[in-house]
Each structure stands twice: as C-alpha cells, then as structure tokens.
C-alpha cells in the first residue's frame, strides 16, 4: 500500500511483520493455523531479496543445496492465506503514535499489531581495515555467495571467532579448498557450549583436519595490499597471518535499532525487551526470535526458542494469552567439520553440588561429560566426537536416568544396550526439542492415531522436522510402539525369504550353504520352498556366496555352476547392459594410473570393434556398444594386454580414485597413487551388498574426493586418515572419520575389518552411508567393533578378507579359459554366428550412439515394488 495509510479506518485489523527470516515465517504459519490470516490483513516487510529460508542449513548451500531447497515457504502458501510479502524493502522507521511503519522505498503501512522479527546481525569487532575488500560476515545467502566467489581467487582464509558459527564458516572455507585459520579470543573453541576437556578434544580433531587454530588471541588489524584488498591479519600477540579472505563470526547482536529509535525498552545486553507473551514496552508491538530479549533477560541465538516465541505471539494476536515463553533450553547438537558436538542442560556444571562423569578417548577424538546432581539427577552434558546418545540423554535431563551415569558415557558398543532404549524415557520427556514434542505425544500418534512410520508421525506432530537430531529416537519409539501394538513389520528379504539379508548371510556362513536352491528349500518361506526364487533373492544370495566363497568352500567364480543362474544380467555377462541391449566394457585402471601403451590398446580395441569411448567419473575408460557375442573377443585382446575386469557390472569394488599426491604435487604429503593402487588391487573383485567406492587424496585439499566415498583416505603428515560412509549419488553424504594418523598396515587392517563388517551386516543394496545411519549405535558402534574389537570378531573379519585376497582371480581371464562359460556369449542360441540385428547405432559427434527411439525417455516406468535397481 503506497502513500498515506488510512490507519485506524481499515475495516480489518492489520498485522505487520518486520523481517521475513526463520521466525517471521514461522509466526505467519502459526497465525494461519489459528485462522488469523482469514480475518486480518497480514503484511510482511522484508529486507532480504528472497522469502524466508533455512538459515540453519546455510552452509549446505556450498554443497549444492539450492536456494529453492532451502526455502521455508511452501509453494502457494502466501497466496493461499492472503499474506502480502514485500521483499527488498526494509522498514526504516516506526511511528508508534500513528501506528505506522515506513519502508526504505517510502511506503507507509498502518498496523494494529506490529511484530518485530528482525533477527540479529553478525558482530564485527572494530578492527582497522575490517571493511576492506575480502572481508565478509556469515549470515545470509548473499554472504555465502560472495564468499564462494572470493574463494575462487583466494588461497588462504581466516575466520575471526571460534564459536559454533565460526567453526562452521571455517569448515566451509576449508571445503572451498582454502588453507584455513581460526582465531578465537577465549582459551578454547566453542567456549559457550563446551568445557575445557571438550574444547581440547574438538581442537585436536579440528587441527587434524588441517585447520590452524589460534586461541587466546584476538585480531588487532586487517592489513591491505596496494589495491586495498585484504592481505593479512595482525593478531593481538603481534604475530601476523597472511590471508586473502577474512570472515567475521565473533558473535551476534540483536537487531533492535528500529525499536531503540522508536523508544521501546531494550534489554541490558540489547534486544527488544519483551514479557512472557512477547509484548514489548508498547503492547501493540511484539518482538520474537533473535531480536528479542525474553522475559528472563536472555537473547536466544537459536531457532527453537524463536519458534516457541512465534507460537506464543500468535496466541496473543489470535485473541488470548497462550503458553507463556519464559526461557528455553539451549541444548544444541550439530556436526561441525564432520565432528559431532552436542551440549545440553547445565553443561558447565554450574548447579550447586554438581558432579561430573567424564569419558575421554583423545585418540579417537571423543570427549563425553555428564553433569549429575547429588541425588543422581542428570543436569546436562557435553558430547564431542560421538553424540549419538544426545537424542536419548537430552530428554532425560532433569530426571534420574535408568542406568548409572558412568555407563551412559561409554561408547555404544560397551554400554548395556537396553539402558538407553526409548523405553527408558518418561512419557513427558521432550524428545523433539525443536517442536516441543513429548514421548507421550509420539506414542499416542502411533497407538491412538494409527501413524505407522516416522514420516507419518512427523507430519502430524512436527517431531523431527527441525534440526533432525531427534529422528533416530523418534524412529525407535515408532518401531517399539508398532511392535507393542502387535503390528508385525515384515522385514523379510522378499516373497521367498522371511529373513533379512544379514540373517541369510549368517545362515550361509555358519551352515556353509553354497546354493540358492538349497537355501530356499531349507530356509525359505514355506510357500516358496521348491520354487524358483525371484529376481531379488537370487542376486542377493549370489552376492553372499561370492563374498564368502573361499570361506564356505564355494567356487569363487560368479559364473560357476548354479551361481551363473543367480546373477543379474550384468554379472551374468560380466558387462553392463545398455538401453538397447548392447553392453559396456570397463577394464580396471587401478588408482587411475595408466601407461601410454595401455591407453593405445584401449584405443585400438575401441576402434577395431567400433565402440563408443568415454572417460568415466571413476578415472577410467568405458567402451560402449558391444554386442554379447563380441565380449569374449574384446576381452581376449584386453586380457592379453594385461587388463583385468573392472567389475563395473558388479555390486563390488569399483574404483579407488587417486590424486597425483606427493610424487608430483607441491602440496602432497604422501604417495596417494601408490596407496590407491595397493587398495584397489587388494579389494578388487570383492562382492558386497552394494557397490564400493574409494579414493585416496595426498593432502587435505582432497582432490580425489575421498570424503564422498564408502571408504576414503586422506594423507596427513604422519600417516593416513580413514573416512567411511561417504556417498555421492542422489543423497550425498560426507564420509565420517573412523580413525586418524594410521600407518599403512593399520590402515589396511581397519579397512579389511570395516568392509567385512559391512558385508556381514548390511541390507541388500544398502550403501555404507545408509548402513551407517541405520545400524544401531551408528558410527560409534562401528568404530567400537572394528577399532576396539568390542564384539571379538575382528580376527574372523580379517581372516575372511585374507581368504578373499588370496583366492582372487580375474573373472574375465578365467572365463576365456572355460569353453562352457564362453558358450553363453552368443546373441542367439539357434544361430550362434549371427549378430543381433536389433542392436543398431547412429552417428553422433564423431562416434555413435544407440539407435533406439522406441519408448525410451525420462518417463520410463521403473518398477519399484521389490527392487528396482538397474545395475
């Protein structure tokens, strides 16, 4: 509405919201939930040029999460509720007497109720030079876009502030490839959340990742070069760090400037002072979120308290005082630089008579402390490096836990499993802090309302849709409740077997059953015994037999005897089926290292057989368009030249990528190529529940992308860091640190154990990333098993891997020697010499592509019922 508003004469009350951030948007949602948007005009005036987005996950923008994905405003929401949103036009003044606000563009809007949700601004310490080219803050999408842009021209970055946000920014700079420094004024990192011990563990872990940490010093001056761009920072101890990019993250200050100018009361440390119902000193003006100083005098810098205030304020606007906001839990759990950090309750033990129980494993970078009262009440805690128990411990705060605290700090594998089960939680324990959902509410959603999955419970209670740290516990509660209600969840592999893959693995391993048929007839579902099996259990059992072959006395070749009938078409023809029925051929190129001679052979083979060639994303060469009957002659040439199967067709080890490492690269600290080759040769041919990928980088710059692999290795000055559970693909996940600074032998031994434990316990087609998220106790449990041998199975795991390595033979070489296996490589059984006329090609860009226009396209209906995996 332009010009002078007819304030007071408006037929409908008007709610004006200043700021469309996380809390502002939540407030509008709360208004619509209470029906206010139907009877009042709601106007939101925003400073940023985009509608509200998820600031908490701002850093994921660097990882490719688009602004759309981060948006918090459901499509059509504003239109549906008639909310007027005005972007890029901040409010510049409030006239309380006239009950109007004026925006930068000069628009004047009248209000009945004014809601300030202006958030906070990063605090930039007053150093000389702080406005130079190359200085940034870390708060908005515009900020991160500017940082990324500048990082492409920078080599070093420095973050002022070693708190939660500072470390997050430092992690982002490091991931952008900058050598990164963190400068923190207090004696430890994250001083607000963690104590000295936790800060120490955090610092070691962060330093091992290649960050340079300076604590107990502040910045004194930003120095600039001749062009006025940052070239360094002088610290308070007089030392100077050369850097071309500076991010200030030294705390936040509530944006109360409008309120101050309008004469509203502010808190002692800033923030619009509000009462328990979020009213400022003028009852027509409310303030919520990070710009408000709550009735307990605290300015909360977290989103959950902001959301609670949004609900309280919406109650008030809807016509009555609702749940008062008197203060909030500042518990936090986050993953910084791949390290889990959590703090909850009285983390610093400030309560009278409080006692500590501490578990510390500085090698693994784990520090856990619980604070308990004299009567055994859990008061709070700090968890660094292993925060899996956070979801259970936080809701127990304020009660006497069901197990002694010294057991509660033990790593998952060592603690009594049942002690921390969801059954131990009292009904009123708040399981989801973000949305204030109690255990009782979750149980009721399952038991009384018939919700049968985490997704359904989330939809009706909101639990799990905030920071996500409670999802695991919510899942356990849902499962336990379903089980208690007698709802049997059929976890069987398929219509033929009632067992899971893991159970079948144990049956095959312990009874040494090396035949799908024998397994089906003895252990299948009664109605499936004597039958054929199906396309789900056949390859799964085939894979289990292949993983265990030497140990259970089976023939190690995937095409031997009955095994040939179990394999998916790719494994059956030792090549990847393409859309037109032709196959692709991928020879192994260990570590991506290849001689000119071998390159020439690949080129000649491709030319002679008319194959399309492409460099793959896995550092090797794919030859496409071979007919079934051509595969043996192609491979005869390749095997003769010293190539082996690359297992591109199998749920098996794919590639171990490498960077050039210390041999050539000026930054390299270890020979990453040699290690990648060693590992690829060791694990080649290993069949697994899903494909396995790996990479080795020669230094923390991580050119080989090891952090996106099932097992990734990054060189350090003193050895190798091992990361596990990474994934690219549709749901990317960064690998997490399993162990650090390993020698060659230690590294190989740990990978042996890790892979065999995964093969033993994962579900069918479950990548390590999904497996790590699913398996009880998560990474901490896996670490206990494979590093600390908590289950006493490491000898067995190593023996199985040793048997695999010893029994390995190239599948293609063996096939070429076996006329019976070779006989299958024909297009037609009744016309062995005839090529398949349906496999045709048309030219494209100097090569060719399949000639197949029938039906192929993005809308192909892929079957997803029981297993839709194409490869």
């Amino acid at each position: 509405m332009e010009g002078r508003d007819l304030s007071g004469q408006a037929p409908r009350p008007t709610v004006v919201v200043v700021g469309h951030g996380m809390v502002g948007q939540r407030f509008v949602e709360e208004l619509s939930a209470r029906g206010v948007t139907a009877r009042a005009r709601v106007v939101v005036l925003a400073e940023e040029s985009r509608p509200a987005y998820d600031r908490v996950h701002l850093t994921s923008w660097f990882g490719g999460t688009g602004a759309e994905e981060l948006s918090l405003v459901p499509e059509g929401f504003l239109e549906e509720h008639g909310v007027e949103l005005r972007l890029d036009d901040p409010v510049s003044a409030i006239d309380r007497a006239a009950r109007t606000v004026t925006t930068r563009s000069g628009a004047v809007v009248g209000y009945t109720t004014l809601v300030l949700a202006t958030g906070s601004a990063p605090f930039v310490p007053p150093l000389p030079g702080r406005e130079a080219d190359g200085c940034f803050v870390y708060r908005t999408l515009d900020d991160v876009a500017a940082i990324r842009d500048a990082a492409t021209r920078a080599r070093t970055g420095l973050v002022v502030g070693g708190g939660l946000l500072g470390l997050e920014a430092a992690g982002a700079l490091r991931d952008l490839g900058l050598a990164t420094h963190v400068v923190e004024f207090s004696p430890r990192l994250m001083a607000l959340q963690v104590d000295e011990g936790g800060g120490g563990a955090l610092r070691r872990t962060v330093e091992k990742m290649g960050l340079v940490v300076h604590t107990g010093v502040g910045g004194r001056e930003v120095t600039v070069d001749a062009r006025g761009a940052v070239d360094g920072v002088v610290l308070s101890d007089g030392s100077r760090v050369e850097t071309d990019l500076v991010v200030f993250s030294a705390g936040i200050r509530p944006r109360d400037e409008l309120a101050r100018a309008a004469g509203l009361a502010v808190g002692a440390r800033g923030g619009v002072a509000v009462d328990e119902h979020c009213r400022s000193s003028d009852p027509a003006v409310l303030a919520i979120g990070e710009c408000a100083a709550a009735s307990d005098g605290v300015v909360y810098g977290l989103v959950a308290p902001g959301y609670a205030m949004a609900a309280t304020a919406a109650d008030l606007v809807a016509g009555g005082e609702g749940r008062p906001f008197t203060g909030a839990d500042t518990s936090t759990k986050l993953k910084l630089l791949g390290v889990d950090v959590a703090s909850f309750g009285d983390a610093h033990g400030r309560t009278e008579g409080a006692l500590d129980v501490v578990y510390a494993d500085s090698r693994a970078g784990v520090y856990k402390k619980l604070v308990v009262g004299p009567d055994g009440t859990l008061l709070g805690g700090v968890l660094v490096g292993d925060a899996d128990s956070y979801g259970m411990l936080r809701p127990l705060t304020g009660s006497v836990p069901p197990a002694p605290p010294e057991q509660l700090v033990l790593p998952a594998g060592l603690a009594p499993a049942a002690a921390l089960g969801p059954a131990a939680l009292p009904d009123d324990a708040v399981v989801c802090g973000c949305h204030h959902v109690t255990k009782g509410a979750i149980v009721a959603a399952v038991a009384d309302e018939g919700r049968a999955s985490v997704a359904e419970v989330r939809a009706c209670t909101g639990a799990g849709s905030g920071c996500g740290s409670c999802v695991r516990v919510v899942g356990q509660l849902v499962d336990a409740e379903l089980a208690a209600g007698g709802i049997a969840v059929d976890t069987g592999l398929c219509g033929c077997f009632a067992q899971t893959r893991q159970e079948l693995f144990e049956i095959v391993a312990s009874l040494e059953i090396a035949s799908h048929r024998a397994l089906l007839d003895a252990h299948g579902r009664p109605e499936a015994r004597g039958g054929e099996g199906c396309e789900v259990c056949k390859p799964t059992v085939g894979s289990i037999i292949a993983s265990l072959a030497p140990a259970i006395g089976a023939d190690g070749h995937v095409l031997a005897g009955e095994q040939a009938a179990l394999q998916d078409t790719n494994d059956h023809f030792l090549a990847n089926l393409q859309k037109n029925g032709s196959y692709s051929v991928v020879p192994r190129v260990p570590g991506g290292e290849i001689t000119p001679e071998k390159l020439i052979v690949i080129g000649e083979v491709a030319r002679d057989f008319g194959l399309y060639t492409k460099i793959t994303g896995g550092q090797r060469i794919d030859l496409f368009g071979a007919r079934v009957d051509q595969l043996p002659s192609i491979w005869a040439r390749l095997v003769e030249a010293g190539f082996e199967s690359g297992h591109a067709y199998g749920k098996a080890l794919r590639t171990v990528k490498s960077c050039v490492g210390s041999t050539w690269c000026r930054y390299g600290v270890q020979d990453s190529v040699r290690m990648a080759i060693d590992l690829e040769l060791r694990y080649r041919g290993l069949r697994a529940p899903h494909k396995l990928k790996s990479a080795v980088s020669g230094c923390a710059r991580e050119c080989a992308e090891a952090m996106s692999k099932d097992f990734g290795i990054i060189a350090t000055a003193s050895g190798w860091d091992l990361y596990v559970g990474g994934n690219g693909g549709a749901s990317p996940r960064h690998a997490e640190s399993l162990a650090r600074d390993l020698s060659d032998a230690e590294l190989v031994r740990l990978i042996d154990r890790f892979l065999m434990f995964y093969i033993r316990t994962a579900d069918r087609l479950e990548r390590t990333s999904v497996w790590l998220e699913r398996i009880g106790g998560g990474l901490a449990h896996v670490r206990d098993v494979v590093v600390h041998d908590s289950l006493g199975i490491c000898d067995e795991l190593e023996a199985r891997m040793a048997a695999h390595v010893a029994a390995y033979r190239d599948e293609w070489a063996a096939t070429l020697e076996d006329p019976e296996k070779l006989a299958r490589f024909v297009s037609f059984v009744n016309a062995p010499g005839t090529p398949d006329p349906s496999v045709r090609f048309v030219p494209e860009r100097d090569q060719h592509k399949p000639d197949l226009t029938v039906l192929a396209g993005p809308t192909l209906p892929v079957r997803t019922l029981e297993g839709s995996n194409p490869s």
Binding site: G531, T569, N830, V839, L865, P870
Partner: protein, 128 residues
C-alpha cells in the same frame, strides 16, 4: 494361444532330443534342452526376424515368450531372471532393464495386468 509349457521329464528322450518353438504356424529348432541353464534364458532368432526368449526352470519346465521388452523396445527379455511367485508358484521373468515382471504362462505384465500392449507374446514349445 496354445499352451506355453512343455514338461521336459528327465531322463530326456533319446536320441539327442531337440527343443522346437512354434511361430507363425511352423516349428523352429531351438537347441538341445541340455544346453539350457536352469533358471536362465536364451534368445532365439525366428525366420521372419522376430525374436523369442526361452527359459527353463529348476524342475526342467520350459517356457517361451517374445524377446522384446515392451517398456523399452530393447530385445533383452531372455537376459532376465526367472522367478516364481505366490502359493501356486507361477513362473515369471523379470526384465533385466527396468525389472517389470511378466507371467511366463500368459505373457501378461504383472505390474500392468490390464494393459495388453505391455504383455509379451507367448510361444508353444515341443520336444522332438
């Protein structure tokens, strides 16, 4: 359409029996039944250029359907995995490309049973 199934009882009738497939009113030789791997299929080139897929299950029962995958147009059905479903253990083949199941006795696509365009043609088989 004629029955899709011929029971191959073992021991197989001597001397060197031949499996034949019916197409367009004629019988076309396929191969010796012993050349088939139980649980898998082979492709057969028919005189008019059409293609069929012939499977044999673990009990020696053989089935023949068209080799063209109606979902993609590729001639690959013979490379799918054989299975049996339900209490009657009805045999089916799962397409190797996008995994739809086809009933081997009727050719019907079990994921779209009402769409005749997505069914495979069924061929009779005999031993001679």
């Amino acid at each position: 359409m004629t029955t899709a199934t011929a029971t191959l009882t073992r021991p197989l009738p001597a001397p060197s029996p031949l499996l034949e497939i019916g197409h367009a009113g004629a019988w076309v030789p396929v191969c010796a039944p012993a050349a088939l791997l139980p649980g898998r299929g082979v492709a057969v080139l028919l005189p008019d250029g059409e293609q069929a897929a012939v499977f044999v299950d673990r009990h020696g029962e053989a089935h023949a359907v068209g080799n063209r995958d109606p979902f993609t147009g590729a001639y690959v059905i013979s490379r799918g995995l054989l299975g049996s479903a339900g209490a009657e253990r009805r045999p089916f083949v799962a397409s190797p490309l996008l995994k739809q199941r086809f009933d081997l006795a009727t050719g019907v696509c079990l994921d779209a049973p009402d769409d005749p365009a997505l069914a495979l043609p069924v061929h009779p088989l005999r031993l001679r």
